[in-house]
């Protein structure tokens, strides 16, 4: 037991450093606010007239919710994706400026150092996702405390997986500039191909869906793990699923475990 206390303090110290650095970084916080404002307020309101009802009985937008409500959970996921994956910049930063070397020679095991960093990044990303919940009133979504709790749990799982993914990327990219380009070529395609801004009609068969969208796009949406994370959050926040409700949590847990394991293997080799 006495051996565990110093380890726990080490883990806490690394987590706290990441959290403090993020909350003091106004630029990062502004990013966390501007994304939901742009995506929900500008895009959501801008496209709302195109999806609104005009004739009773005619379907233009198949989802039994408004476009803003449909978009809302996806914007949370986008905020988490940016914060989690770009968190890895701190890993590059620590590597470049020697901080990583300093803590790697400390008595804290490497696995715990990695866990502390990833938990720190996940906390920040979850907070950025949670901030979007403040806009629920704007999208006309009423949330109970249990919904908020469950949503935060899913957000944390997703943040953990994506932060681990960011660390994996950071191990393979050597410069800040390279990471910026690389992350954008990953985040935006994953987001757009996750049925985040356009719905696949759950009442249609696969063949009917393929008649509406090109098969390659349906395929990209279906193999994208972010699709199921967005779907899980939609299930919790607006009680709407496009896929089997069990898939979302399963994919989130799978991502978290698999990416942390790969990140741990990479970190051990350092």
């Amino acid at each position: 037991m006495n051996d565990l206390i110093p380890l726990a303090r080490g883990l806490y110290g690394i987590w706290l450093r990441e959290v403090m650095r993020a909350v003091r970084d106004r630029g990062q916080l502004i990013g966390g606010v501007s994304r939901p404002l742009i995506w929900l307020l500008i895009l959501g309101i801008g496209l709302n007239p195109y999806f609104r009802g005009e004739v009773y009985g005619e379907v233009r937008f198949v989802i039994p919710y408004t476009y803003l409500q449909f978009l809302f959970p996806a914007v949370i996921v986008l905020n988490i994706m940016y914060t989690s994956i770009l968190f890895a910049v701190s890993v590059i930063w620590d590597r470049e400026f020697g901080f990583l070397r300093a803590i790697l020679v400390s008595p804290v095991p490497r696995g715990l150092i990695l866990l502390g960093k990833i938990l720190g990044g996940s906390t920040i990303a979850t907070a950025h996702g949670g901030l979007v919940l403040i806009l629920a009133r704007f999208a006309d979504i009423t949330l109970s405390w249990s919904q908020v709790g469950l949503a935060l749990l899913l957000m944390f799982g997703l943040s953990f997986g994506l932060t681990s993914f960011g660390v994996i990327l950071a191990a393979r990219v050597r410069s800040f500039e390279g990471f910026g380009v690389f992350s954008n070529t990953i985040i935006l395609p994953l987001y757009f191909c996750s049925s985040s801004i356009f719905p696949l009609d759950p009442s249609l068969t696969r063949a009917q869906t393929a008649a509406l969208y090109p098969e390659w796009l349906v395929f990209l949406v279906e193999i994208n793990p972010i699709t199921y994370a967005v779907d899980a959050l939609r299930g919790v926040l607006i009680n709407f699923h496009q896929f089997d409700p069990r898939l979302g949590p399963a994919v989130i847990i799978g991502l978290a475990v698999a990416f942390f394991f790969i990140a741990w293997l990479d970190f051990r080799r350092r």
Binding site: V19, M20, V23, R24, R26, L29, I30, G32, V33, P36, L37, L41, G44, I45, N48, P49, F51, R52, G53, E54, V55, Y56, G57, E58, V59, F61, V62, I63, P64, Y65, T66, Y67, L68, A127, L131, V132, I134, L135, R137, F138, A139, D140
Partner: protein, 282 residues
């Protein structure tokens, strides 16, 4: 030279906490921006236009003295929003199975009332504002009759658009003979003459009947028979109008206005719950 004092633990969090508070306040302030122009349009015209069927008692009656539950609720809502209520009576509503053939458009009305059922299918077309009443299949059990095996059921399907196929299929599967009623009065007559053991119709049709005080009215149990909350339908995307109507409706619920209107139309109680399908049909 003075040594710097160590920063207290609580102070360490202060700059970060201030940053987070500023960001949260900014997002909260953004929620007060109107997401659309629907309420503004209605306020500019000064009129809340509502599409209703010619008759859907007790929600819409056509009687100026007691115009119906939905109409009275809407009158109060319009009044609270400082608007005039204008009814657009459309005889096509409910007549055709496909709502597209009712030809209701945004230009005709901002709200659709008079029996809009809150279901996933309806929510595909409209945003809904629950009115606090529900409908579904209900049964009248004559006074003194013990619940048990049913031989014949008098049935009046009504105009609510409930699942008639599910009801007729269930009755057939359980060997219950169906006596088709043509008017609400036929249900009472069938029970009084003993031609039927129970009478089945939608909840609202039964609410209009003059029944013996001791007669029991029971919901047909779910499953297999679903109950549906009723709602006002607003066009999808009209968030500001829905928000204003919802707030006014909540206020009406708090000050007892909704309850008093429901009481006036016999919608305050509603049928009893049967324990299960076996209790009702034996």
């Amino acid at each position: 030279m003075r040594t710097p004092r160590p920063i207290r633990q609580s102070r360490r969090w202060l700059p970060g906490a201030i940053n987070i508070l500023v960001v949260a306040a900014l997002l909260f302030a953004a929620t007060f921006l109107p997401p659309d122009t629907s309420l503004g349009e209605v306020r500019r015209s000064g009129t809340l236009r509502v599409c209703v069927p010619q008759s859907a008692a007790p929600l819409v009656t056509g009687d100026p003295a007691a115009p119906g539950y939905d109409i009275e609720v809407l009158q109060h809502l319009a009044e609270r929003l400082g608007l005039r209520l204008a009814l657009n009576i459309n005889p096509a509503i409910g007549r055709d199975f496909n709502p597209r053939n009712w030809r209701l458009t945004r230009a005709q009305c901002a709200v659709i009332a008079g029996g809009v059922v809150d279901s996933a299918a309806t929510r595909g077309f409209l945003q809904l504002l629950p009115t606090g009443v529900e409908t579904g299949w209900a049964a009248i059990v004559p006074p003194g009759e013990a619940l048990g095996p049913v031989g014949t059921a008098a049935v009046l399907p009504g105009s609510q658009g409930l699942d008639r196929l599910a009801l007729s299929g269930f009755l057939r599967e359980n060997g219950i003979r169906t006596l088709a009623a043509r008017a609400p009065g036929d249900l009472v007559a069938a029970l009084e003459t003993g031609a039927a053991d129970i009478a089945i119709s939608d909840r609202f049709t039964i609410a209009t009947l003059a029944l013996d005080e001791d007669a029991r009215i029971l919901w047909l149990p779910e499953p297999p028979f679903a109950r549906f909350p009723l709602a006002f339908g607003l066009w999808k995307g009209d968030l500001t109008l829905r928000r204003a109507l919802r707030d006014a409706m909540d206020a009406m619920g708090r000050d007892g206005t909704l309850a008093s209107i429901a009481e006036r139309y016999g919608l305050d109680g509603g049928p009893e719950d049967a324990a299960d399908i076996g209790e009702l049909f034996g």
